[in-house]
């Protein structure tokens, strides 16, 4: 991509302008748009190495699901239920969980699944059917004992500074696949715990932020991108645009000012997005059996099912980074039993449906699906039926996109509290995700305020032990 269309660059010649303007609605005119519009700076569209995954679907379990009740089976914890934790609990826990520090066995049964014999609790019976596709990392560590910090850590690689989100980095690094759609979409993101910071661009060029649809874990049937719906009838809008195009061209001819040309093009693109995005967003044309696969139409699973289905449609349409968020519901300081049962029920079938659907379309192999909370939960009890936050050791699983299936990596201690073997820090997870997408986390940098920034700051090691 040329850089000659930058602000302050020599004005393009009249001839070149006519050439590009003549393309009108054609997609060719878009070739130079990204830069002309000041949209994407630097290293766009550049792989550092061959990618194993083309896109990411990140399933965010907001609130922090418990690893010892889902994917990290700890027989010793069950055995010593009610006994005191034989070592010191983490700092900065709520005093109600540290004064006693008594172990709480999982109220759920674990069993082995698939040919791999992966342990999954009865909270995820449908996801368990995909055991042989799951790569379960049981030794994840993060920073931030509170939600705010940990959620930002998960999404931006820092618990206290304002930094670009993972999706923004990916968008920045790889550019877009589909010029009519955003490269990064966040479905139903939370407004709390950092809100837009978690899908924002911080200092990266603004176009790298996520376009959102729905909010706070909820996706209504009518949800759409902002301002996508035309306010006037198509004929009226088309006539107005024709006038506008003429006026803008005239203005550009007079000024030879590159951003004015960028505006002309972005108007064309906006016009096209009005037509091209709604068919992707509207899931009504999906056959009934597919909708059923995701649990759409069933009361408990309908909402997350539609989010997951939409994620697949975005993935198909070329969006690179798609996040699907639950509401902030996993935070069971109390009411663990009923709470986790309700939450897992809401996502289990939709996630399993997504995996099945991706697989049957041949997309799982180049789609990296990641399932994660901002942290896990303590094996010690809080109150009588709850668990406190635990960034010291928790589970993230991945599927597809170049990771080993039916595989577990890393370990926590015998109670599932601290990661002790093959620890994977959040920075490592980020480095690994970028690596799978063909990006080197140490080379994906952006210069801001006097230095080169990275998603992983000065940390991060690629966990190649999980690569297929």
């Amino acid at each position: 991509m040329t850089s000659c269309n930058r602000y302050d660059a020599p004005a393009p010649t009249r001839r070149r302008f006519l050439e590009s303007a003549a393309c009108g609605f054609g997609s060719v005119a878009l070739a130079g748009l990204a830069n002309a519009a000041g949209e994407i700076g630097g290293t766009a569209n550049r792989f550092h190495h061959a990618p194993r995954a083309k896109r990411v679907i990140f399933l965010f379990m907001h609130g922090g699901p418990s690893q010892v009740d889902t994917f990290d089976y700890k027989p010793e914890l069950q055995k010593r239920d009610g006994q005191r934790l034989p070592f010191a609990p983490a700092k900065n826990l709520d005093p109600t969980s540290t004064s006693q520090a008594k172990l709480l066995g999982s109220p759920w049964q674990f069993s082995q699944h698939g040919q791999s014999g992966l342990w999954v609790s009865e909270l995820f019976p449908e996801v368990a059917k995909h055991a042989d596709d799951l790569c379960v990392v049981r030794s994840v560590q993060s920073k931030g004992q509170s939600h705010g910090q940990a959620v930002c850590m998960l999404h931006t690689g820092t618990d206290n500074f304002v930094r670009p989100s993972v999706g923004a980095w990916v968008n920045y690094g790889l550019g877009r696949d589909n010029q009519d759609l955003p490269g990064f979409v966040s479905i139903s993101p939370s407004a709390s715990h950092g809100g837009p910071r978690n899908y924002g661009p911080a200092f990266l060029p603004a176009a790298n932020q996520a376009t959102t649809i729905g909010a706070n874990g909820k996706l209504s049937e009518e949800a759409s991108f902002d301002f996508l719906r035309p306010r006037s009838k198509a004929a009226i809008q088309e006539r107005k645009l024709q006038f506008l195009r003429e006026r803008n061209r005239e203005h550009f001819e007079r000024t030879q000012y590159a951003p004015a040309e960028g505006m002309i093009k972005s108007m064309e693109m906006a016009y096209r997005m009005q037509a091209s995005a709604p068919p992707v967003i509207d899931t009504k044309d999906e056959p009934e059996h597919i909708r059923e696969l995701y649990g759409i139409g069933e009361e408990k699973t309908d909402n997350y099912g539609r989010q997951c289905l939409l994620a697949r449609r975005f993935a198909e349409a070329g969006v690179r980074y798609i996040q699907v968020s639950t509401p902030n519901v996993w935070d069971q300081h109390g009411n663990l039993k009923a709470g986790h049962e309700k939450n897992s029920l809401a996502v289990d079938k939709p996630i399993a449906g997504l995996l099945t659907d991706l697989k049957q379309r041949g997309m799982l192999e180049d789609t990296l699906v990641v399932w994660s909370g901002e942290f896990g939960r303590t094996p010690i009890v809080q109150g009588k039926n709850g668990r406190d936050h635990n960034p010291q050791g928790f589970t993230v699983w991945m599927a597809g996109g170049g990771v080993k299936g039916g595989f577990t990596y890393g370990e926590t201690d015998e109670f599932g509290y601290y990661a002790v073997k093959d620890k994977v820090h959040m920075h490592d997870l980020h480095a690994t995700m970028l690596h799978l997408l063909g990006l080197d986390h140490e080379r994906l940098t952006y210069r801001y305020a006097g230095r080169d920034f990275r998603l992983t700051d000065v940390y991060g090691e690629v966990v190649d032990g999980i690569f297929a």
């Binding site: 826990l93 206290n160 006026r247 002309i264």
Partner: protein
């Protein structure tokens, strides 16, 4: 040994022979190292800590003896012979969650045992390589750095001589045109009057001229008329609103916290309005700086001045904070960090935040410099207590504004009560709930109390309710048995760091232990004390102080009760109280007041009632005359440098002070009793600090010319861009200084220059000669800002409400998380609430500043979302429809609506082509109808596309 030569491990023994041990014991030690220790180091450590691997994480090498002796960033790693005192062992034991090595997986227990044994042996290590490569990074050469263009003292430059024919209108032109001349560039022509006036109006007031104003200037564009117009615009309220907004970008102004909880900052608007007013009345920039850094500490003569200064210091409190951070020391340091970084960028164009973890990689700012300044802000209180009753969600300080008479006293009392409620709420959350009826339930004890139920009992203990003088349902005793084996461990968790008195509850009697051994594990290690249980406790007859100790929030805090040496006597354990020393007087007062009726009910409220009361107090105060101002901490102090910026990794203590690269000037020493903000402010504005002036004049230049003389306006460091016109920069800085820091004088000087009045159109020759307009050979075009777009549209439609806004965020609730709709709000955009994490779409889409960061220069992007907004937003549609009506009403003749629109929007009549094209559009969209209503709708569509056109959106 040269650094580049690496000697493989197997060679070492050979080379080591000259230094070979003399005794057999040492030989044995070396053998142990070779056989047992080295393999562990090789397999688990050297990947990150050796010259061969090219990695020296944490500054530590473990591939040579000198490596671990000197140690890394945290000091010596191994103390030979001292297993427990060696950081190395500490980290491999995984006992500290912040320091665990190897980071990925714990060593096997037998490996840890081997390494412990090795250190116990005295850590024999035959690896004698020198630390050639281990020399610390070179010290910053401040003397040399001070001569750099950004830091050096201001010297008035000669004004370049340029030919008269150029028609310079000010000294500014002499600098610019001599630069052009040297580079053989001829400047663009003067801007056409109708374009110049549009630019001038927007630049100075953020609003367009009326058609009459355009006409008047076009008919007389003389220098005198222009100068008169400039003076007029400088005195309009719009000047304060436009230029105040520039500063609000720099000040990362917002009406909500952002961070993790988006609490509404009910009082932030006062700062916003103060800034607008400061620009409007041309407050000296030096006073402007002083007030923002230390307004709460400055002397005052009138209540108004006091109020202004308090409000100005809100600057420090405005930043985004992670209020849910559980580690309060980290919260304090992160808050200080945000302030250091903001002050650095805003006033000095320096990225001081870079030096939190290590010396600045590029600029002459050491980590010590950073902590010298950070100590000032760590000694400043901004966050406190709890906002919502949850102990983990902090709040911020609010201070009463001076309100005269009795009302003022009532207000002061209210603010004090709010803070007391916050503190008590935190305390209650930490106070353990004891079962049963508390004998001392009526005593308003402060701090944190642990009942015997909360402790870990080791051995056999007997519960008892025999004595009614007890805390909680019962107490335990050891029945005089199992001496030496029975023990009890209290594990504490305290709300904040500080010095606490520990008090032990028991009922006294002659047969109790007289020398009960207690071990207190505090921040600075273990302390042994003894307690005499034969003597009656001093407080309420139940709690007996056993000593004062310092604890860190989240750090070690244990009290262990042992029973050895108490044979033949009872040991009684009932409860343990931790009370912050500073709260002891308050508690004494509360206890004494129990019998009295006028004690503040807050002191005796249950946790639930207290939370309700807290919310009520917050709600009650949000509309009162209070400021979100900081204050000096009760115990201002220097702080420790933090190794790698980690809160828990203390380095050396750094005296509070300023940046060494800048002259210390006449600033006074920092008083021990104050934070040092007063001195910091004086140092910033001191005569000798030329950087402050360079940074602000450059900001002002940028707003008028589209690019700074230093293009990186927030970064005057090495990675910023050097000035294109260093002499001009210094000239402006000197003039600014001599004007007493008058922003208006500077703006006036700049807009009167010929350079400002150049056309933005570059002919082919000029575009080629100065493609980037590096030499300011023409004006730089710019897009209207988000605020200018919205304000202009309302201005055109006659709906702009020119009254200043006040607490515009308050009606939006406790958190600013819900999407905004400004449909009904017609005030100038600068007065609309700014929510972090929840930017109003119409502002965000046109690159309004992100209030999380200092942004002296806004991005200017062109993205399809803007086009979608322009095409489909309700705002543009609705306002265009109004404009259509107005045009229909305002047209002097049939078909005159088009002229009316062009005159209103662009200050000119349409040319014949435009006119014809517009007629065509209106005719098509009204279906050729003569019906005025139909036609007005069609004209509304025309207004819509003109507002979406590049001619409206860009300033020539």
């Amino acid at each position: 040994m040269p650094r580049s030569i690496f000697i493989p491990a197997f060679c070492l023994l050979v080379f080591a022979i000259p230094n070979a041990p003399a005794t057999e014991e040492i030989a044995k030690g070396y053998a142990f190292f070779e056989n047992e220790v080295r393999p562990i180091l090789v397999s688990s450590c050297l990947d990150c800590h050796s010259e061969e691997a090219g990695k020296r994480k944490g500054g530590l090498w473990l591939d040579r003896k000198a490596g671990w002796m000197i140690g890394g960033d945290a000091g010596p790693t191994i103390v030979p012979g001292d297993v427990d005192g060696s950081l190395f062992i500490h980290s491999i034991r995984y006992s500290d969650e912040d320091l665990q090595m190897p980071p990925k997986s714990r060593l096997k227990p037998e490996e840890i045992a081997t390494l412990e044994k090795w250190i116990a042996m005295g850590a024999p290590d035959p690896r004698n390589e020198e630390m050639a490569g281990a020399v610390r990074d070179a010290e910053i050469d401040y003397e040399a750095e001070r001569k750099g263009w950004a830091y050096r003292p201001l010297v008035r430059p000669d004004i370049p001589k340029i030919p008269q024919s150029i028609g310079a209108k000010s000294d500014v032109d002499s600098f610019i045109f001599s630069g052009l001349e040297k580079n053989g560039i001829s400047a663009a022509a003067a801007a056409m009057p109708e374009r110049l006036i549009r630019r001038l109006y927007y630049d100075l007031t953020g609003l367009p001229p009326t058609r009459e104003e355009v006409a008047a200037f076009v008919s007389d564009p003389s220098d005198a008329a222009y100068a008169k117009l400039v003076d007029d615009l400088l005195t309009r309220p719009g000047f304060g609103e436009k230029w105040g907004r520039h500063w609000l970008d720099v000040a990362r102004y917002a009406d909500s916290n952002g961070g993790d909880r988006n609490f509404t900052y009910y009082q932030a608007w006062r700062y916003r309005n103060w800034v607008i007013d400061a620009f409007y009345r041309d407050l000296s920039y030096y006073d402007f700086v002083r007030a923002q850094i230390a307004g709460d500490l400055l002397p005052w003569e009138t209540d108004q001045q006091r109020a202004d200064q308090l409000v100005a210091s809100t600057f420090l409190a405005l930043g985004p904070k992670m209020l849910t951070e559980r580690d309060k020391e980290k919260l304090w340091l992160d808050t200080a960090d945000e302030q250091v970084d903001t002050v650095g960028r805003a006033f000095l164009g320096l990225t001081l935040g870079c030096a939190r973890c290590h010396d600045h990689k590029f600029d002459p700012v050491s980590q010590e410099d950073y902590y010298a300044v950070a100590g000032i802000f760590r000694s400043t209180e901004v966050v406190t207590g709890t906002r919502n009753g949850c102990v983990n969600v902090a709040s911020w300080i609010e201070r009463p504004l001076p309100v005269g008479g009795e009302e003022g006293e009532i207000l002061k009392k209210k603010v004090e009560r709010l803070e007391l409620a916050m503190r008590l709420t935190v305390e209650k959350s930490f106070m353990k709930k004891a079962g049963g009826k508390m004998a001392l339930g009526d005593l308003p004890l402060a701090g944190v109390i642990y009942d015997n139920d909360d402790a870990e009992l080791v051995g056999e203990w007997t519960e008892s309710t025999f004595s009614s003088n007890r805390f909680g349902a019962n107490y335990v005793h050891d029945d005089q048995k199992n001496k030496g084996k029975n023990k009890i461990i209290f594990r504490g968790s305290l709300p904040e760091s500080g010095t606490y008195e520990i008090r032990f509850a028991y009922n006294a009697s002659g047969n109790r232990a007289a020398n009960l051994p207690l071990t207190v594990i505090a921040q600075d290690g273990k302390h042994k004390v003894t307690l005499d249980q034969t003597k009656a406790p001093g407080i309420g007859g139940l709690f007996q102080p056993v000593g004062r100790f310092t604890f860190e929030k989240g750090g070690d805090c244990e009290v262990i009760v042992e029973t050895h040496g108490t044979e033949g006597r009872y040991v009684i354990v009932d409860a343990l109280q931790f009370i912050a020393v500073k709260d002891i007087p308050r508690e004494a007062k509360a206890i004494a007041a129990v019998a009295e009726s006028d004690v503040d009910p807050l002191l005796r409220m249950s946790e639930g009632d207290l939370k309700k009361e807290l919310n009520k107090l917050i709600e009650d105060l949000k509309d009162e005359e209070v400021a979100m101002a900081p204050r000096d901490a009760a115990e201002p102090d220097d702080i420790h440098l933090r190794v790698r910026g980690e809160v828990g990794q203390l380095g050396k203590r750094v005296e509070r002070g300023f940046l060494k690269v800048l002259p210390t000037g006449s600033s006074a020493e920092i008083s021990e009793k104050e934070s040092g903000r007063r001195e910091l402010a004086e140092w910033l504005v001191s005569e000798e600090n030329a950087l402050l002036d360079r940074v602000i004049v450059n900001r002002i230049w940028q707003h008028l010319f589209g690019r700074g003389i230093v293009a990186s306006v927030d970064n005057f460091g090495k990675l910023g861009t050097p000035p294109t016109h260093p002499e001009l920069l210094d000239y402006l800085a000197i003039e600014f200084r001599e004007s007493g820091g008058s922003i208006k004088s500077l703006v006036r000087k700049l807009v009167l220059s010929r350079t400002y009045r150049l056309s933005s159109t570059a002919g082919e020759a000029l575009a080629k000669a100065d493609p980037e307009n590096r030499w300011f050979s023409r004006q730089n075009r710019r897009r209207l800002t988000a605020e200018e777009i919205r304000d202009s549209v309302l201005f055109f439609s006659g709906q702009l409400d020119r009254e200043p806004g006040t607490a515009t965020a308050t009606p939006h609730g406790v958190d600013l998380d819900k999407p905004f709709s400004f449909a009904k709000d017609k005030k100038r955009t600068v007065y609309l609430p700014v929510a972090r994490n929840n930017p109003a779409t119409e502002l965000a889409v046109f690159d309004a500043a992100n209030p999380d960061l200092v942004s002296g220069k806004r991005a200017q992007t062109t993205v399809p979302t803007q086009a979608l907004y322009l095409l489909n937003s309700d705002f543009l549609h609705d306002q265009s429809a109004v404009l259509g009506q107005l045009a229909a009403e305002g047209a002097s003749q049939p078909g005159g609506e088009i002229d009316w629109l062009y005159l209103t929007l662009f200050g000119r009549e349409p040319n014949p082509v435009e006119s014809q094209s517009a007629q065509g559009l209106v005719a098509d969209l009204s279906g050729g109808s003569e019906d005025p209503a139909e036609r007005a709708i069609a004209v509304g569509h025309l207004a819509h596309v003109l507002l979406a056109s590049s001619e409206f959106l860009y300033l020539d």
